[in-house]
Symmetry: C2
Subunit: 174 residues, 2 copies
């Protein structure tokens, strides 16, 4: 595992578990097992590192959402929370922590959320056989809600969202 991969993985773990602002660079160097000199040579700055973490996470997350049905969309979320745990959306959290004042971070978040929104629209269209932006918005809300409610209600929120989405989809079909 090269230094870039190791650093990005360590950073994602710490930022996700303890927050971006609360994670100091010394904690990061220790977790990544490298000197601060190497870290900065590799990442440039803390904000750039966070942006890279988000871009990498977007890649991994969106890869799981390459599905054809709304049901599979929520099944993918179930897998995700089983693997990654329930700590809410790292993208929204990063943006909120920095008040949207760190351009590199704000841009990575905006790019992800736009891609996510598009993907939900595509899956709904594929599953339903036609575009339905209003339904897609509802599915997006359920997805986002399951993600955040899971923080204090546990993974059951994802099955609740999945069931709700199935009802909405069935109704849209008839």
């Amino acid at each position: 595992m090269d230094m870039t991969t190791k650093l990005t993985a360590a950073a994602e773990r710490l930022f996700d578990r303890h927050g971006y602002m609360a994670t100091g660079m010394d904690r990061l160097t220790e977790a990544a097992g490298m000197s601060s000199r190497t870290l900065y040579k590799n990442a440039g700055s803390k904000a750039a590192l966070m942006a890279r973490v988000l871009t990498e996470r977007d890649r991994r997350f969106m890869a799981r959402l390459e599905v054809r049905t709304v049901d599979a969309l929520f099944a993918a979320l179930e897998d995700w929370v089983r693997v990654e745990g329930c700590r809410g959306c790292l993208f929204l959290r990063s943006r909120a922590e920095t008040g949207g004042d760190t351009p590199e971070i704000a841009e990575a978040v905006a790019a992800h959320k736009e891609a996510f929104h598009r993907r939900v629209g595509e899956v709904v269209a594929t599953d339903l056989g036609r575009e339905d932006p209003a339904l897609a918005e509802q599915v997006l809300v359920l997805f986002e809600g399951a993600t955040h409610a899971a923080v204090y209600r546990g993974a059951q929120t994802v099955s609740a969202a999945k069931a709700a989405a199935a009802i909405l989809l069935e109704r849209a079909r008839s």
Copy 2:
């Protein structure tokens, strides 16, 4: 307006807009218009101040949710985001920023989310005429989802959630 009220209001504004960790005490003293000596005499510590902000916000938020129908629940959220804007849930954000490692904050968040969960269950039971924990969970997910999706999709997520909840409720009734 006494010092306690002024400080709490200023703190809520800054913590909400820029994040808890990113808000320094000097910024806080300036916004509250008081010396740091008075601030600490009044609040004790930064974490205690955040806990007070959350407790006060819980009071204000829950007061708006004293309704009898699910529709009114989402109407209340519509009012809330119109007044307070769309920056996600301050409770979950605070907890995430501190990794749950600040007891005063973690407790305030847990208390609020438990009260919120109970309230949603009550409103669903009142509206439906009977308890329905599964439906209540779905409504909670929609509420939380509208709150967080609104950060990047705008207030329309609340009407989307409201419409979805109406469909789920109608189906549960027949």
